[in-house]
Amino acid sequence: MKTIRYEHLNETIVETTLAGRLKTSYIHKPGFSKTYVALSLPLGATHQGYLDETNAKTITNRGIAHFLEHKVFEKNGTDVSKDFSLKEAQINAFTEHHQTTYLFHATNHLIDNIVRLVDMVFFPEFTTGGIEKEKNIIKEELNMHLDDPYYLQYQATLQAMYHNHPVKDDILGDNDAIASMNIEELRNMHAAYYQPEYAHLVILGAAEPETILKTLKETIRDLPQPTLKKPLPPALDEPETVKNKSTELFLDVMMPSVLIGVKITPHGGEKPLERIKDKFALSLLMDLLLGKSGKHYADLLDRGLINDSFGLEIAYEPDHAYVLIGSETQHPEALKQALLEIFDALKVYEPDNNAFLRQKRQMVGNFLSGLDHLESLSYHFNEYLRDNLYFYDVLEIANTIELSHIKAQTGRIKSEHITTTLVKPKKQTAL
């Protein structure tokens, strides 16, 4: 076992490997009542298939990562969630573009519940009958999203940004893909991606780490045999430019809204430290440019072009990256124009040093407060583990960013990389 202590943050991590294959990190959080446990697998919505024993490529149905996430809960016709609930634990899962995460929080029976989680994830027992029943449930999940104009606007923006990359497709797939799910394909994807060597178990709780990890090592000895199926790396044949520069959707809303997508050329999988520094620098640039303390935000507010729904989001993966900026607005055309002009003027943009110094203080506070939330801490901890970094080192990394690095990011934003999606009211039908 290895112990890592961050004295200035008063945080301790203890690490080990279970059955020689499943890396496990325990973040000690004295004083908390619940223990939070998360297990992530590197199968996400952007993975399009697998490589079989001969290295031949098989392309699978869209939405298979999400469907598999649902099916893992089936143990030969029954839902294993009940067994967690009987042991004071609440289990859940979610699928993203690049990974699937299974998680529970428990106020008792920790070892029992961790053993159950590992068994559930690595030894699936889903059935053909269970798969058929799930199809209708997921169809209703998709229908629920299709009623959400913000979801539709977001999907339309991804579709407009990307020519080929599967990030443009709905995580749930579509009705045809869902209807085509079959047991063989699900088993093959599970075999290719749900290998302990690819996973990481993260535990956050108050119990003594060494005691828990010792017991887990003694209890979890059996993990699935390695298979010869392998993940299929996402294709990277994606142009730098967006597919469409402008989309208009007429939906059943009363408030129009604008969403700008800025496509960023991804870094690739090499040199993760450099990639993370670039991500921070880009994030700091966007905050300086459009954050609440800046003059552009004040100006947009003064002109009545945005309201308090205005927000920014950044995705920054090795194979795809983008920035989204959006707001509800009564003046969608004027807001679109104003935001495009702000991006046009980036070539002469000079970030302000006083604002940058404030940002450094803000980062410290934001980071520290985040350590109080076990769910988001486990998420970020796992996120940086994929690059063999510890989340606790991230603040120091962010502090090495200089103003010149932030300024250099302006060159990565070009007008042919920007798409706009406007949602306008179809008709007034409020009851």
Binding site: K29, R358, R361, Q362, S369, D372, A430
Partner: protein, 420 residues
């Protein structure tokens, strides 16, 4: 974790000291009667107090100041609780032990003090906040889950004395003047009852002294009986038509049981078993067995005594789901459930209760429940009461439930009102 009650000039102050958090949380709540004539101006006034003040006379300056205070979050919100309208101020900030800045703690409290006592009520800010509020109500239409819930509550609470949204009425916004705002502000300071809470790792005597300037004069004591004792009548079913991909179904069960009543814990366990968990009767039958819906759940409001069952599904399945929802209630009334079902429901409540102490924001809410309803701050008594609920208790309390209303938002036929 230590919970201490004291006062700032007769205003209750809750000090919740605990070592596991790196941040601290300060809340001030102002209570007035919930009234549709005053809710809009109270909420707009609150929004204006957050936007700027004499020390920070623009949104930008205030935002910059909060950033430099290590990302201090200054939030406001209006709520309703029973018969009360609550204007709430919150500050979430990093514990001073993580900074070398000796002026930091005082500067954080100064943010709230300036907002409360050095207001700037100007025409420009009022115009902006009015527009934000109108946009908020307009945006309710966009998300069909949210809009369906709004229409359901509009019908359920028709003619109810406490139907008003805590943000007020959209039709009242335009007429609000700066005089109305100033009157609402003066009224809040002069007449509202108040409760202050501080959570985190701190020295109690030191912090109490630092918080003194937040209360300037004596206030009336908190009222304790704030439950809505208004009877909900049986209503004819309402079906409304809108372009939706998925129909939304809501059904109301009247209980007559409120927070603090003897039957509160049996009802809480019963509702958890009925429709709160992934193993509940509704979820297991309507989603897992019949595959009718992605979501189906029942929510119990202990301040109004109402249970709402909500689900979304294809229109062809609505009638079948309505029948199944009532069938599942009848099954519980007939005792058709076992010890495993009860244990899962209890575990759900037990886990939620235990882990609510892990969220620094919810500690102040516990203090509020203690002040209003005499609920002990620590969890032991509540845990014992949950564990003590028996099968007979659940059957008895389920027998008191009455189905009084159904609402459907459908992408199908014409709007219609018809008898239940």
């Amino acid at each position: 974790m230590k919970f201490t009650t004291t006062t700032l000039k007769d205003t209750p102050l809750h000090l919740i000291s605990t070592t596991q958090f790196k941040s601290m949380h300060l809340t001030m709540r102002f209570f007035a009667d919930l009234d549709e004539k005053t809710a809009t101006s109270r909420h707009l006034m609150l929004s204006m107090l957050k936007a700027k003040n004499k020390q920070f006379p623009s949104r930008t300056l205030l935002s910059r100041h909060l950033e430099s205070l290590y990302d201090t979050a200054f939030m406001v919100n209006s709520h309703k609780l029973g018969t009360k309208h609550i204007n709430q101020f919150s500050l979430r900030f990093v514990n001073p032990s993580y900074t070398d800045d000796t002026a930091y703690m005082d500067q954080v409290i100064e943010v709230l003090k300036s907002a409360l006592y050095e207001p700037v009520f100007d025409a420009k800010t009022l115009k902006e906040e009015k527009q934000f509020l109108k946009d908020y109500f307009a945006a309710e239409y966009s998300n069909k889950n949210r809009y369906a819930a709004k229409r359901y509550f509009d019908h359920l609470y028709e003619n109810h004395p406490y139907r008003v949204h805590p943000y007020g009425l959209v039709e009242a916004i335009d007429a609000i003047t700066l005089s109305d705002i100033e009157a609402a502000y003066k009224g809040m300071l002069a007449r509202d009852t108040c409760l202050v809470s501080l959570s985190g790792d701190f020295d109690e005597a030191l912090m109490k002294a630092k918080l003194e300037p937040l209360i300037r004069h004596q206030r009336p004591p908190l009222e304790k009986d704030i439950f809505i004792r208004h009877d909900f009548p049986v209503r004819p079913k309402v079906t409304e038509n809108l372009e939706v991909t998925q129909d939304r179904l809501f059904m109301t069960l009247k209980t007559g049981i409120h927070y603090g009543d003897d039957l509160y814990y049996p009802l809480a366990v019963m509702n958890a078993m009925y429709g709160e968990t992934g193993e509940s009767k509704l979820f297991a039958n309507i989603r897992e067995k019949a595959s009718l819906a992605y979501y189906v759940h029942s929510a119990y409001s202990p301040f109004s005594g109402i249970i709402t069952v909500a689900s979304g599904m294809d229109k062809t399945n609505i009638a079948r789901a309505e029948a199944m929802i009532l069938d599942q209630l009848k099954a519980i009334q007939a005792g058709d459930f076992d010890e495993t079902d009860i244990q899962i429901a209890k575990n759900h409540l037990i886990t939620n209760l235990k882990q609510s102490y892990d969220n620094i924001g919810s500690l102040a809410l516990k203090g509020l429940r203690h002040a209003l309803f005499d609920v002990p701050f620590k969890e032991n008594v509540q845990l014992d009461k949950i564990k003590a609920v028996s099968k007979a208790d659940i059957i008895a309390v389920a027998g008191r439930l009455e189905h009084i209303f159904t609402y459907v938002l459908t992408g199908g036929s014409q709007n219609e009102n018809h008898p239940v």
